[in-house]
Symmetry: C2
């Protein structure tokens, strides 16, 4: 197994009404002037924003608000947030929402605390040296950004979607009340479950020797999300299922399920980033749409992991050759996606890229990963194009 | 399921030669004058201490050393450490060793940073308000103290063994190099594996409704330790098995395997604390010696969990009544203990307490938990005595 670093310092308050503690937590981490960053109107309509600002008022914590974070959050809003922080002398960021608001807030923190253009960090030109403290009230279980070191921002100039990872961006606290996720549309819930599973699956599919403890805990997490995604399809207000999925979302992307590996494959994410950059689809659905084609393209090069996945996660019968078992696992995963109304190709995703689009996406994807990437199988531009074509 | 808090901020560097980073990490967390706290001569004989002080010298970090932390670490040495910290104006604690050195260092930190008698915290009279930063180089996988909020100290005056838990005591960093555990005697390795499993088992055996994610990950951890404990019995230098056990030790006691429960039962630990206070046995062996008697005494009151444990951890056949399956699981666990040369009663532990001793231990145990305790089954003094008697 490989050496690893594990660092997940976020203080998690999990359960009903945990948002009541928001002012206390902001004070604990030294906040006195807060930028509350959020997305659309749902946190306002639900009354959550009023509750939060009421608690901050009561605790005499000052704040300014900036809404408008959208899925695949945009660089322009990040710039706007940085300017607002400067103007208002903000010393704490509070993201209220899902991954979009959190990722956008992380980028605002980097841009505000460091000089120069924040996009440099995402473009890989330099590293952030500091940030300001970030807290999260999570309303959507999906990206795991509430405990992760990563954020993804889309630059409108060329629709380039780029990720940046730094421990400086890890949230100081995350408030997770499963009830806050109950009003999500079914489609968003299913996309969230897909994204959560993919964060562990990306780490799981690797050719290097792994840790048994990491593998078995990863498999436990995947089975749990799979089971509860189906419960939520039929019973979206099920508190326990919401809770299982929400906590799995954090553990799936805080590093735990990758300890002792090389970090994992991540090509499904990279391939999806280009789809998301060009077509603005929901990330989870994009992942589901590309995964099957990726898996069928690479599984022979990482057969022992695909077999193990088939047996221990998809629980297919241990019958036939390794290849047959691996393929049965991929099929079972696609059946699962279909069962929660997720797409298994780009057509089902609702987009119809032209051959030129595919060529462009493959080119941008290859460029973005420095020519090639992948741990289950190392993919170059021609491989990426082949997978995109197969996913039509 | 119940609400929970999860907070495990320790930065973990895991793998070969990670101790090379010790000076860098101390600086990262602001240390300039360090108390290096350790146990016996093994860290000196192995050359680890020379390596550490060499790195600190090189980085121009000042330090003083205090050895002598023993299993069931003593209050007197804690007082000595506090005085030394005061005299030397220490601003960072580095524990080099296992749970004894770490627990002792945590206590030194509380006593040094707060006024008054440090024993007050352990006696439950008041709470620590601060501490100073603590780093760990772990040389023994067992107590999980490197990521946990807890420490246990024995007051020589009456041999009272008491625990104190506070997030203030959590280590800033933990350096875990599995190679540093390779020279441990087989008995210590087995005791460590037992202790590690017990930290999750204590959380697992509860009557409250639990989280599926927590349960399945806990079961994965338990199976992994069980498997690797047997590998280490036969092949003590097996790096991968050392690594699996070492990482499991941290995850088993950092809070992860208790998320969404009531915290668990913990009566095996409480019962063992009194044995350890009176007879100074190795903690893990004491736990193994008492567990079977505890389990047989309580299992009917928590039958669904004992059945689940039997099936998912001990992997016994799903045949017979729930009671039969639960009992088969307890027997299988005792067989496992025997297979790694752990005791399953006090006689095998090598002690022969008198009836008066048992009465005294039960009395002290009941007093220590405010009359009664237990989540699998609530135990009062007479129950404790019955379990002690059954464990003879």
């Amino acid at each position: 197994m490989l050496d690893f670093k594990y660092f997940a310092p976020t203080k998690v308050l999990f359960g009903r009404n945990t948002e009541d503690k928001v002012a206390e937590l902001i004070k604990e981490f030294g906040g006195s002037k807060v930028l509350i960053h959020y997305g659309g109107g749902s946190v306002i309509r639900s009354g959550l924003m009023d509750k939060v600002t009421g608690l901050l008022d009561e605790a005499r914590i000052k704040y300014v608000k900036l809404g408008g974070a959208v899925p695949n959050p945009r660089l322009q809003l990040v710039y706007e947030g940085i300017e607002l922080c400067k103007k208002e002398n903000v010393d704490f960021l509070l993201a209220v929402g899902g991954g979009s608001a959190i990722d956008s807030a992380k980028a605002i923190g980097y841009g505000y605390a460091n000089s120069g253009d924040v996009w440099d960090f995402y473009a890989g030109k330099r590293k952030a040296e500091k940030s300001i403290p970030l807290g999260v009230i999570l309303t959507l279980a999906a990206t795991g950004s509430e405990m992760s070191d990563s954020s993804v921002i889309t630059n409108e100039d060329g629709l380039i979607k780029k990720g940046y990872s730094s421990d400086l961006g890890r949230a100081k606290f995350a408030i997770m009340n499963p009830e806050l996720t109950m009003t999500l549309p079914d489609y968003q819930t299913a996309c969230g479950c897909t994204d959560i599973m993919m964060h562990t699956m990306e780490r799981y599919f690797t050719k290097v020797e792994t840790m048994e403890l990491t593998d078995t805990m990863a498999e436990a997490l995947l089975r749990t999300v799979k089971k509860n995604a189906i419960i939520l399809r039929d019973d979206p207000k099920n508190y326990d299922a919401r809770a299982e999925v929400m906590w799995a979302g954090s553990l799936s992307h805080n590093g735990l399920t990758g300890c002792g590996t090389d970090g994992g494959d991540w090509m499904s994410h990279k391939l999806e980033h280009e789809i998301g950059g060009l077509f603005d689809v929901t990330h989870g659905a994009g992942l589901a749409a590309i995964w099957g084609s990726w898996a069928r393209y690479v599984y022979k090069d990482c057969l022992h992991r695909f077999k193990r996945y088939a047996l221990n996660v998809m629980e297919v019968e241990n019958k036939g050759t390794d290849e047959e078992i691996a393929l049965a696992g991929i099929e079972a995963m696609e059946d699962f996606y279909r069962s929660i109304n997720m797409p298994t190709n780009l057509r089902e995703l609702g987009i119809t890229p032209t051959e030129e689009d595919l060529v462009l996406m493959a080119h941008k994807c290859a460029l973005g990963v420095g020519g090639g990437k992948g741990s289950a199988k190392f993919l170059k531009e021609e491989d990426m194009l082949a997978i995109y074509r197969a996913s039509m």
